[in-house]
Amino acid sequence: MIEVKNITKIYQSASVETIALKDVSFSIQEGEFVAIIGPSGSGKSTLMHILGCLDTPTNGQYFLEGKDVSKLSEAELADIRKNKIGFVFQSFNLLRRTTVFRNIVLPLVYANVPKNKRAEIAKRCLLAAGLTEKHFSHLSNQLSGGEMQRVAIARALVNDPLIILADEPTGNLDSKTGDIILETFRDLNKQGKTIILITHEKYIAEKAKRVICIKDGEIVEDVFNHSSSKEVKKIKE
């Protein structure tokens, strides 16, 4: 479903040139649960942004459902983000002082989903993310960190995306809450969603079906069983 071929990303700022990704290639099938690990600054987020159509590679090709999306215009990328991708951020990125309901239906607003259908969709997705519609009228700033991330996950689900991308979704949460969030992703995966998440935590990497490790912009390891991964073992508890 996802096929990345020789992707390179170079950031050009004033005088310095940062090579964030060097000739990266891999593919991901429908229904996979992939953890991307690697040290800070290795290019994980950069890769995630390209997979999420938030950014385009400097070189190389990215096929999403067989279609090359690496050369699309801004507006076409926006359409793909709207219809095929659900993004979950480390810092939640909820609308401030706004109700849970309005946060969840935000993608539906841009997808022109009729108003009378939104509550139903929001309810289903919030339930899938582990909260109930009782939270609809809560303001985003009245929630705990774990609840905020669940709302963010519900928001990522409303457009029924092909893939859910999560950039360190548990990075701002304590390990217990992180565990609950991880279970949420596992449930979604069991229901058939393709999930790619970036993590620093060993227990999360261990629960993934596949682990890709990136260092200095290059894939150094790509294994389907974490017990065979040297990199996962290296992560301290």
Partner: protein
């Protein structure tokens, strides 16, 4: 994005910071309000001057001494030249078709006295036709008759203000004797109140036979104005031309550009006054317009701040699928909405101000639909113009950079 979503987002954005939105709107309110109030004052002045001029008499043509053709210059020269006579007026009445009546006039200010009460008032010498020509009505007694004029009798018809000054209100002055410039006059009547004009009260006046003014008060043979009434408004310009030709012949002048008199219809005067008041209105509106521009800059300032504050939010919206057009439209709607609310309140404020001006200063004001529409148009345009740049700035943001923004 559905229209209702756009409006909902706008509502939430504007109410999120009520104080700031309120102050920004206030800038527009003051701008629009002052434009409407100023224009209403200007147009009110124009309207009252016009209606006063029209009240001077129907289908009136005035012939004044002096060679100039324009209104303001005639005003300056009036009275100094001494080229028109009662005979000119009689000739016009006799020889020119479509002339209803001619009322010659010679006006000067004198002191009038009755039993120790004094007033300095305008003495207007005229004839019996003055009543119909100048649209004046009698309240008491009778007006100057032809016989009075022929015999230069010392009779006087008082204006209501003059009656109040000399006799007191509600007193019947008919039959009493007053002194004008030391000469005794018998009061034979009083006119109805006509109201003031911008040139002075039409009620503070004493009418006496024109021949009496010429012989006993002024000691001259000329008149200051010939008031000619045409039979209808359609024949006005024809009558004006005939008067000019007749007087040129009577005064032995062959070149019309050297004419020692000028012929003007009320329309000409109204036109001249209108052009002056229009200039005044534009000036007032321009001054008020400056505050509108300042209000617009307030909008831009607020929108720029909002865009900066909401950079992360813009990034998020883009990440979930918002296009450039969605973002720019949202911010544009916000600024247009702010100016629109400001415009509506501003119109109400403007109408209120105009009303207050009328109550407290007595000035006539006129709030026209035109000025309201102009204000609405201007405020919406300001919303678009001053909102466009911030909206573009927001729309162009790269989603990742925007999300990273601290």
């Amino acid at each position: 994005m559905l229209i209702s979503d756009l409006f909902e987002e706008t509502y939430f954005a504007i109410t999120a910071n009520k104080a700031r939105s309120g102050l920004t709107i206030l800038g527009i309110v003051i701008g629009i309000g002052s434009v409407i109030a100023m224009v209403s004052i200007g147009q009110g002045a124009a309207g009252s001057i016009k209606s006063n001029i029209e009240a001077m008499g129907p289908n009136l043509i005035t012939v004044t001494p002096g060679s100039q053709q324009t209104f303001s210059q005639v005003m300056a020269q009036r009275g100094s030249a001494q080229t028109l006579t009662i005979e000119d007026g009689e000739a016009i009445a006799e020889n020119i078709l479509n002339v209803q009546a001619v009322a010659p006039e010679l006006s000067q200010r004198y002191q009038a006295v009755y039993m120790g009460k004094n007033t300095n008032t305008q003495i207007t010498g005229t004839t019996s036709s003055y009543l119909s020509v100048k649209n004046v009505e009698l309240a008491l007694g009778s007006f100057i008759s032809e016989l009075d004029t022929r015999l230069s009798l010392k009779v006087a018809v008082l204006g209501p203000t003059t009656r109040d000054d000399l006799f007191g209100e509600e007193v019947d002055p008919v039959g009493k004797t007053i002194r004008i410039n030391g000469i005794n006059f018998k009061v034979i009547g009083m006119t109805q109140p006509k109201g003031g004009t911008s040139f002075g009260s039409q009620d503070d006046v004493i009418f006496i036979p024109i021949t009496t003014v010429q012989k006993f008060l002024a000691g001259v043979n000329h008149v200051s104005t010939l008031n000619v009434q045409a039979i209808s408004s359609e024949v006005m310009s024809g009558v004006q031309n005939s008067i000019t030709n007749l007087l040129l012949r009577r005064h032995n002048i062959s070149d019309s550009s050297l004419a020692d008199f000028s012929v003007m219809s009320l329309e000409d005067i109204t036109e001249a006054v209108t052009s002056i008041t229009n200039t005044l209105t534009i000036l007032l509106a321009a001054i008020a317009g400056i505050s509108l521009v300042v209000g617009g800059i307030g909008i831009m300032n607020m929108m720029m701040t909002t865009v900066t504050e909401r950079t992360r939010e813009i990034g998020l919206r883009k990440a979930v699928g918002a296009k450039r057009s969605n973002i720019s439209l949202q911010f544009l709607t916000e600024s247009v909405f702010l100016t629109f609310i400001g415009g509506i309140i501003g119109i109400l404020l403007g109408i209120g101000l105009a009303y207050a001006v009328t109550i407290f200063t007595g000035m006539t004001t006129k709030v026209s639909l035109y000025s309201i529409m102009l204000a609405c148009g201007v405020s919406t345009t300001i919303g678009i113009i001053f909102g466009y740049w911030p909206a573009q700035k927001a729309a162009k943001l790269n989603p990742i950079d925007a999300l990273r923004y601290e």
